[in-house]
Symmetry: C2
């Protein structure tokens, strides 16, 4: 299970960017990107999208993983996390049905 941060680090290296170059390109500070890639600080969705664009890759999977991490972080110490996810899923499904 590879975190979004590590995925983005790999992608950056494959695309041949140094941390600095990448940070400048997406208009953020090197320190922030460094910390995000290593999971020391949370990513913002905005940065994920900008990076995906910079590395010329599709962002969908990345965004999904990003959101998933966010949710899991919120539930990490919860006894009933799994149950909560199931309820949430059911409700989202229901909502989707009745909206179109």
């Amino acid at each position: 299970m590879s975190t979004v941060g590590l995925q983005l680090r790999e992608l950056r290296e494959k695309a041949g960017f140094s941390l600095r170059k990448a940070a400048v390109a997406i208009d953020t500070d090197v320190a922030i990107l460094s910390k995000m890639e290593r999971g020391e600080r949370k990513f913002s969705k905005e940065l994920v999208l900008k990076l995906a664009e910079l590395y010329k890759i599709d962002s969908d999977k990345l965004v999904i993983d990003y959101l998933s991490e966010k949710v899991l972080y919120e539930l990490k110490d919860e006894e009933f996390g799994l149950e909560a996810l199931k309820v949430a899923e059911k409700q989202l499904n229901y909502k989707k049905q009745n909206e179109q």
Copy 2:
């Protein structure tokens, strides 16, 4: 689909507490409780637990609904919310397997 707030309002009324009494009993401000019951402000988990205790009911289902709401709120504008939930669920399941 009844929100946690509305559930707690019903439970309070059944238990015969006024807003003020309940608020005092759980050591919070009336305004906060009023707003939470009506969904104008987010609940804290702590208050949910205190209220469940006050009303002498089992808190599990309430906590699950509370967490589910929290997660759904986070994903409410996300195109890939459902996919993210599925990924999160998969990972939680996986984690559960490998921990005991």
